[in-house]
Symmetry: C3
Subunit: 272 residues, 3 copies
């Protein structure tokens, strides 16, 4: 089987996504194409980078994940193809693939240069159609990744300007709302590993502060609190999520993407 | 062939739908996945319940129809899988499957409990990915439904608080606009069977009242009236639909979902 | 392989597109269905006609392209099926297929009338489901197009009221913005062939006027100019496109679809 996923900022009103699929099926009639989303904010490379990480692990091994959020299309920016954790990835070298490899060194990484696998002629504005689609179709068909171009040093890959949250010495951690989903849930960059679990670290408990509201501890699920009440939990991405049961945390807190969240450890050991 | 349809309130901006498809293809690479819609209003179980009924009959027998509008995700609400009219259905026990069976008794119905068919670990917020997707993929692959869990009594299925329109003794019927489509057509819960056809019941004719406007009788198609003029017809769901030729009934009448429609029988027998 | 593309104005909130796919898969389980877009403005036949032309050449030969923007559904308008340039097309006779054939005479063209290939009964409001979907599924399965109905004279096909831009004797050309994409790029009806290339016609250069702004000559790609600066280039459809590097030309110029663009030839031969 040959599965190809697509993440783009092309939206759903224009012919762009459909045309990419036409090219893919022309090259590889067996390809199964799955849309992750085409509603990335125009040119929001960071949002796309997070979406890749949130989606790829749930696909079969050897799936080709294509991310086309590409403000530099037509310029001299490189296009990269790589293999990591048994999946294949294809995207421009603008940071979009840089979160995948944080702790998973690339097994293979090449710069895509071989025009034998591109459409011809190549436009200067739509590499999704002219390069990404036919190359993805070939990769999904089993093409040796090294046929695409020379090896690319992962250390030279463009990075995103993203600071990972860390605990300060005073027991505080500042994270960021990196996405707000359709339900108004606030998805943060505070991963599960950063949060002390009940029963560990002396019976420490966390206090989460967003705006002027405090949320005490983690809930197990949305309806652990009453309707309309905010809560924090570990969401489906394995990160801290701020929600409102049967409501929208976005509206409740009046916040947008980029908003800051603070967590404090609270030692609840009873006085002896 | 193994077809799976999806109805959710997940929208198209987040990774949720794509991830469900990744899980489905990981379990059952042959599955054909069809989106009905992911634009159900967040947590609008009633809307989803109507959409299932409007779509399932047009799919091949044995299609697995999955509906994930699930405000109670992570709570103790049950998940149900059933067979009805040769199709398979999977959804939470919150009423979402309750309109299918109104006059079609369930051939089989079970509570989905067998964790062998779930992802592991199971999140408390995204059963679409962790339970519905892998179970649907198995059902589409021919898994015996009884492997999923114990038989569930259909009479114990949660119901929606929906009143079916009925003719009063005075010859009036009140119905409700249950959906407004992209064209602004008002789709009602007044099914074709409720409406006397011309030539029956003495030569009775109907008069439809919406807001302060009367529409006389049913039209055959949109352009049976002039452009910009409202009309009533039997729409594609087999129910009464209020439309405006080349226009939007929503805008014409200034109404929203939930608005009431009245029908009166008008006896047109000529005086003898 | 049997590929079917869909262009409709059905949007993504209602069951209409999903139901069409159910019908297609019921008739032809092997069909691969690709959405071009379902976000055509309600009843905007012209927009759909351009989208067909922009997308079909990128699909495999024998692909069936279905366009359902059909204000006359249920009336006496004909439905046409044709073969052109190795592709198959299916749509109402309202002009939607008329731009395909401008310089590509139809190899075959028939009026779709044979009810053997329709669903039964046929609604008066949803021919996408009842006629277009099952007929497309049959065509994709290799049905002889002449089985669908009698030959239709291409010269009798309904035309759109579209004027093609032409150079005036005074060296000016007026074109129209026929679409604005998600990025705010202005797509015009001024095809590449109409624009003199540098080095031809005695080193002539073009000056493009939109609103009160002049753009001099064509850029090679978006970042040929600084961020926030407007430019003109040959876009992915092979036509003149007005863009703003890392911005939206729609917002920059404050224009909408239908806005006019003027081009003047500028002779840059140095004085002797």
């Amino acid at each position: 089987m040959a599965v190809i996923t697509l993440i783009t900022d092309f939206g759903d009103r224009d012919e762009y996504v459909g045309v990419m699929k036409g090219v893919i099926l022309s090259v590889n009639p067996e390809a199964r194409i799955v849309d992750i989303t085409h509603q990335v904010e125009p040119q929001d490379v960071v949002q796309a980078a997070y979406l890749i990480c949130a989606s790829y692990p749930y696909f079969p091994p050897q799936t080709v994940h294509v991310a086309v959020v590409d403000p530099g299309v037509g310029s001299s920016r490189a296009i990269l193809a790589g293999r990591c954790k048994g999946h294949l990835f294809l995207g421009p070298d603008n940071g979009i693939l840089s979160l995948i490899s944080d702790d998973n060194p690339w097994e293979e990484l090449v710069e895509v240069r071989n025009r034998d696998y591109f459409l011809s002629p190549i436009s200067r504005t739509f590499h999704g159609r002219d390069i990404f689609a036919p190359v993805a179709a070939r990769l999904a068909g089993g093409l040796d990744i090294h046929k695409l171009g020379p090896v690319f040093d992962p250390r030279k890959m463009k990075r995103l300007h993203i600071e990972k949250p860390q605990w300060s010495d005073s027991g505080e951690l500042r994270g960021t709302v990196i996405a707000i989903d359709r339900f108004g849930n606030l998805l943060t960059d505070i991963t599960e590993e950063l949060i002390p679990r009940p029963g560990t670290e002396g019976d420490c408990r966390i206090e989460i502060r967003i705006g002027s509201t405090n949320i005490s501890g983690l809930s197990a699920c949305y309806d652990s609190v009453s309707q309309g009440i905010p809560l924090a939990l570990i969401g489906s991405r394995g990160s801290l999520e701020i929600s409102v049961n049967s409501g929208s945390a976005r509206h409740y807190f009046g916040v947008e993407k980029g908003c800051k969240i603070r967590i404090k450890k609270e030692n609840r050991n009873p006085p002896i």
